[in-house]
């Protein structure tokens, strides 16, 4: 188990390295040098030279790459070209906002998705099962930004129950919670349908297994058969999907944060891309990739912890 954990972490580090290298390569692949692209057509040569020097672009490529990695390893992700603030500070401000949105969205989506999936299995073949199937598929097929716009129109503009934009006032917890409701619905709703379908499929397979018949043959209460004997097993393949889900929630945050004008990684990254603000783009990509890898690695380790068969296969 420990060797497996070390292997997984090493693999994650390698992936991170390759991603950063690819990101760095992109800066040079874009037509024109980054400094003139960033400054626009009306920049003076002196201004360009200054920016080129500040971004370290006058150095050989190998030195640039080395510097970038060495600095990143020390937590220095460079300086914002425009605001001249350290990139890391901006990310540290924005990231918790996105993470909060993602976690809130995923937790309600998980609770509802698993419950609906289990209900569909308990009432399989009935009207409830078919209705849940229809709802799940519609939830999956509508893109989150469409739902975001509709939520805005209905609850913020028309009914005026909830705020349309922003993340609430600093220090004012109730206003922050209110501001979270609509975005987290927009981000999570597709996941409800997806998780419900997944849990239903894996539960159906497990409920037909011999060991469920054994549990019933020993007169175990149906509630215990469903939760302890079936759901515990059905959750295992769902975990890796949830991990990927948390990662892709970060990307759907790009749309949702734009629609709701919430501060966060999504807003930061879109702004930076539009302004060709390379240090910020690279910094955010580094942090989100690292986070994504962290979650996926944690999920793999959790699966090994929950399923003794996986654990033993790894030990061998």
């Amino acid at each position: 188990m420990l060797t497996y954990a070390i292997k997984r972490v090493a693999l994650a580090a390698l992936i991170l390295f390759v991603v950063m290298l690819a990101m760095y390569g992109m800066v040079f692949l874009v037509p024109g040098d980054p400094a003139s692209v960033a400054l626009g057509p009306r920049a003076t040569p002196a201004l360009k030279a200054m920016l080129t020097e500040r971004m370290g672009l006058d150095q050989p490529v190998a030195v640039q790459i080395w510097r970038f990695f060495a600095n990143a390893a020390q937590g220095d992700l460079g300086i914002d070209v425009w605001s001249k603030r350290p990139v890391l500070d901006q990310i540290l401000e924005a990231f918790p906002q996105t993470l909060l949105l993602g976690l809130v969205a995923l937790s309600w989506a998980l609770t509802l998705g698993i419950t609906l999936g289990v209900l569909a299995v308990v009432y399989r073949g009935t009207f409830i099962d078919r209705a849940l199937g229809l709802v799940s598929v519609s939830f999956i097929s509508v893109p989150s930004f469409v739902i975001a716009i509709y939520l805005l129109l209905i609850f913020a503009v028309w009914l005026q129950w909830l705020p349309a934009i922003g993340a609430g006032k600093a220090g004012d917890i109730p206003s922050q919670i209110k501001a979270l409701i609509l975005p987290s619905i927009a981000v999570g709703i597709g996941w409800v349908g997806y998780l419900a379908r997944m849990v239903r499929a894996s539960m159906l397979e497990i409920m037909a297994a011999n060991h469920i018949r054994t549990a019933r043959a020993f007169g175990l209460p149906e509630r215990k058969v469903v939760t302890r004997y079936a759901l515990r097993l059905a959750i295992v393949p769902t975990i890796s999907v949830i991990a990927v889900g948390l990662g892709s929630i970060l990307s759907s945050a790009v749309f949702v944060e734009t629609v709701f004008s919430r501060p966060g990684i999504g807003t930061l990254i879109t702004g930076a891309v539009f302004k060709r603000n390379y240090p910020v783009v690279m910094g955010t990509v580094l942090v989100t990739t690292a986070f994504y890898l962290l979650v996926i690695t944690a999920a793999d380790l959790l699966i090994a912890k929950l399923d003794p068969r996986v654990r033993d296969a790894l030990a061998r």
Binding site: H211, R213, R216, G219
Partner: protein
Amino acid sequence: MTEPLLEIDALNITYHTDHGKLSALRGASLIARTGEVIGIVGESGCGKSTLAASVINLLPQAAEVTSGAVRYKGTDILRLPPEAQRALRGQDIAMIFQDPMTAFNPVLTMGAQLVDFQHAAQIPRAEKLTRARALLARVGMPDPDLTLRRYPHQLSGGMRQRVAIAAALLMNPTVLVADEPTTALDVTMEAQIIHLLRDLRRDYQGAILVITHHLGVVAELCDRVYVMYAGEVVEEAVVDDLFHAPRHPYTRALIACDPGHFEQPTPILPTIQGRLPDLRTPPTGCSFAARCPLAEAICATPPPRIQISPTQSALCHKAGGQP
């Protein structure tokens, strides 16, 4: 004679499949008394596992009981409310399942499952563990403590079958149903499990039903035998009579095909020609007639159940004559 402990009375079970209705059991009847070991034999698809599942009413979703009863101590369990049925399962009537590979939950330890199976007992968990440990030792598990901490996939097939037997005995049930207890095992393991079951029956107080396609298992373990064919009980006999004076042509054919019974090397293994009738449209006459060497015109009409002795009967037009 003692009162029947378990009585299956003219049970008809139909499966609703995509290809129409299929009659899995057609008027099957059976009686088991306290202290008896009953064998149920027949080839695959004859309805013996459906019969076993009906004893605890854990039939597949597609199955429907169209008529008949399963009486346990005189009460029809098929018509009991679900909660009362559940209370009987594992406590009064316990199953030893076929295929020990998949019979246990893969993510719970054996200890956790053996404790769960005693959910009806109002005793502390530690006592349940002690009881599980004692039974594991009883079925010959070399290290009961270790077994309790193991997951199913960490045990061999033979060991899992032993644990399955121990599990069935946990609540001291009065009826024990063993559904193909040795089928998934290799020959040496099979012999060991038969040995264990024989050993257990000596101090077991209830009735045991052994479902198998293996005549050797029947000869080793059972007092009385029911032979099933195409959803019907075609012959009922005491084990000695079954092997020495079988009356139904199907029973004779089964015995003739049993490799354990050959004394001389044979170049060709005998088989029963033809195959099981299509149970979507069961024949109106004798269901074995199409494969029977003795079949005559009369066999196209429903065969009578001919009582040969108080303990032997056969569902055959020709069973009245000399064997």
